[in-house]
Symmetry: C2
Subunit: 491 residues, 2 copies
């Protein structure tokens, strides 16, 4: 197996190679669309199941709405339409027919042209709010707390596996409320659900904040986000939660009678995370040897590799491996025993390092004698010899330790790569030399924000929640500012 490009050589190349070599995903024959391979999908499934559990725990139910959005619905909420019109796949026909010039070829049947074009959903506010109109008459019908797991399509010009693909998998929550206060509470609640998931399950520290107006979701009154810092010093938006005000209710005429008997438009939120999180996961923890996965998301948590010279030795090791497997399975730990004979132990070691299996157990003839095994941690590449006795409990605790340690490592990286600057010169210097998160004062205008972006490619990732107030002056216009905001170059 050829080695990976290292991160210091070329971070972007390292990422692309790793996604393919670790069998997570690959490009398909369809421009910008990826194939998510079984190993990658197994990790996504674990993310999905845990998020789904958290959504249900907070009172949400799943439902499913159409893939297609009639153009007229799509147009209804003006800002939303404007935001997505430039990158949407359009269905115009509903039939193919045999090419009269070549019976082996098919052509679009011009007689099967749709009266109204259908947009493949880039996001589902339009179709969902068109549906909610029929569901909401009285305050008693509210709140509606729905989530959908679905595929969406955004015709991106430059695509990268998981990070930016024309089609991606995601979940989108769409809720309707009787009051503004309740809708804002929901928006914030879901932001915290995302943040807790990122930190506890992905072992990925995030900053919770609010987007500036220019970075808001098209159609939202306020966009909340979680922002993570990747190893190369660039930020990645890992989830967003939008307070949509009454914009969609007005666009789709969704009114209800409130408790006081008055007719009012419903209040909305939407919130989403996607397979992009796979990219965030990889770029938060992995190293030059391959993936590093938090135990919570690892399809295989422990792998056992036998080291043997004879069939007799293998037979003995098989017994020990079976014993360990049974013990670990009882504790709900997923374990794989790889006693294939066509590959050498060294090959297997490299393979499971590449795949990010958190703990590797090696059993050789000496271990048989000593009733011990060799344990290797994927995250910090340390090894130790442990007695068979009590191994299951030791591993159970070790998995929890690894989960905590990789979070702390990512947090340390973020701390070391977060800088507060007071001048635009310093800002540019830090950005160029080090990258990372930069806290700086901003005058609150689109103009200053745009100028900074144009000149440095850095954007305001968010105005952090619970930000410490601190008097200062903004970097370019030198106007007074009451708090620092979070800047970074971003994926």
């Amino acid at each position: 197996m050829a080695k990976l490009t290292t991160r210091s050589e070329d971070y972007s190349k390292w990422y692309n190679e790793l996604v393919v070599k670790a069998d997570l995903a690959e490009n398909s024959g369809v421009r910008g669309c990826m194939v998510i391979k079984p190993y990658g999908y197994a990790i996504w499934e674990k993310m999905r199941d845990e998020m789904d559990r958290k959504f249900k725990e907070t009172g949400h139910q799943n439902a499913y709405f159409p893939l297609f959005i009639p153009k007229s619905y799509f147009e209804a909420e003006e800002k939303n339409a404007e935001g997505f019109a430039k990158e949407c796949a359009v269905v115009t026909h509903y039939r193919l027919k045999t090419d009269p010039n070549n019976p082996k070829k098919l052509i679009v049947d011009p007689e099967a042209k749709l009266e109204e074009e259908l947009i493949v959903r880039p996001t589902s506010e339009a179709i969902i709010w068109n549906t909610y109109r029929g569901w909401i008459q009285s305050y008693r019908d509210l709140p509606i707390l729905i989530n959908q797991w679905a595929n969406v399509v955004r015709w991106e010009m430059r695509t990268r596996l998981f990070l930016r693909t024309a089609e991606f998998l995601w979940q989108e929550g769409h809720t309707a409320h009787a009051t503004k206060t309740e809708a804002i509470e929901e928006t914030e609640k879901m932001l915290h659900v995302y943040a807790d998931f990122a930190e506890q399950f992905m072992a990925m520290p995030v900053i919770r904040g609010i987007k500036t107006e220019s970075e808001r979701f098209a159609g939202a009154d306020e966009t909340y986000c979680i922002e993570a810092l990747m190893q190369d010093g660039k930020a990645l938006q890992a989830g967003t939660s939008h307070f949509l005000g009454q914009n969609f209710a007005k666009a789709f005429d969704v009114k209800f009678t409130n408790k006081e008997g008055k007719i009012e438009y419903a209040w909305a939120t939407s919130w989403g995370t996607s397979t992009r999180l796979m990219g965030a996961l990889i770029m938060t923890h992995s190293d030059d040897f391959g993936l590093v996965l938090p135990p919570t998301l690892a399809p295989i948590q422990v792998v056992i590799v036998p080291i043997f010279r004879s069939d007799e030795q293998l037979a003995e090791i098989n017994k020990v491996a079976e014993y360990i497997q049974n013990k670990l399975k009882l504790k709900g730990i997923s374990v794989k025993y790889d006693n294939r004979t066509e590959n050498k132990p060294g090959w297997k070691f490299a393979e499971y390092e590449l795949k990010g299996v958190p703990i590797r157990i090696a059993i050789g003839p000496k271990d048989l004698e000593n009733k011990s095994v060799e344990l290797a941690r994927r995250d910090n590449l340390t090894k130790e010899t442990k007695a068979l006795e009590g191994l299951d409990t030791y591993i159970e605790n070790l998995l929890a330790t690894i989960q905590k340690d990789i979070y702390l490592k990512a947090e340390k990286h973020r701390t070391e790569n977060t800088t507060s600057v007071d001048s635009y010169e310093e800002f540019k210097k830090v950005l160029e030399e080090k990258g990372g998160f930069i806290y700086a004062h901003w005058d609150g205008t689109k103009e200053e924000e745009a100028q900074i972006q144009e000149e440095t490619k850095a954007t305001i990732r968010c105005i952090p929640l619970n930000n410490t107030l601190e008097e200062g002056i903004s970097m370019i216009s030198k106007k007074p500012s009451k708090q620092r905001v979070l800047f970074a170059k971003a994926y």
Copy 2:
């Protein structure tokens, strides 16, 4: 709440009303596409999770392939292309722009025309086998055992909720094998997985069989199916498993080196079930009062309704209800306590009957005195009074009994509506007067099959597996036949 149309009045109307009134699904603003509402989706989720468990148990892994299929791939397997060309949604453009004549409207941007049209997948053999070409070089790469949960689109002209919709949710297994024998074994294995799921989880008896050539999946060498009998005497195909031979391997040039070192094309299977199963579930068990759900698939297995005249009574009942809920939850039984005051008990009874909740518990003042409750079974509408003591165990067993009883009831219905006939006259008479499954002799030709279908609208549902051989003569051509095949009108 207005009553449902009864089944004897108008079966088709009863079905449509029930789907909507029980909050399972509704038509959307997009022609032929449905909205699956939370209650319907919760049932589908249970089906999906159980099937997913069975697929994994039999060694399959999930993955995800693109929604879009380039036209050239779509054309590659000729029969498959021919089978689906007439009903596929075609993406021709990737951008909208503002209408120069009306700035509030969007039009398709003619400059954003795709070089090659993209077909929204009606089924994924083409895109998947184009991908497998890169994955399969040696027999060591086989078998590939993959399943995908996805949405697909078939532009059906006449649609009905769940039974036939332009977009539907499904799973599609796609496997690749080194030998023909192994591929056939897989095809049959998955048929039995489907049949076991239908019988054990949906409580729906099915006939396992093989399709005739004219009913085969486009591109298959052999199609296996499970067929269920609905209450109105029509058949419903509930799942199919296809042996695809080397057709797709040849179309997409998927070759491998076999154990003997020879180059060979890979052998394929595909198999699928869809949200159509929701229709099958409804039309197998439900009655004039609403849904009847098998306990395995019921989102709420037990509902508790308090009957009270005063707040004091309600307070007492609340305590008992809480006690019962805790007991049932410990047994993993899903239970809902509906003590809303805005609806009367009678209204609630009707509501949970409509929703198919298997067991209803009512608690009134007399029950408080007697330390008992009233238990009502949804499936046979019987009631009984039971002591609080030991209620949890009683309910646990009762749920199992209900599961078995509704299976037996459906099986009895099928037995009573299955007829063997020996002449075409008898065939037509039974079909008209009674419908149901009809076993009759057939000469094995497309011609006789087509004539029967044209004259009676009945089709050969399948040639049952393990069919009893029995000499006879076919109904029209009077040619000798060695076994009866299964006819019915079908959904």
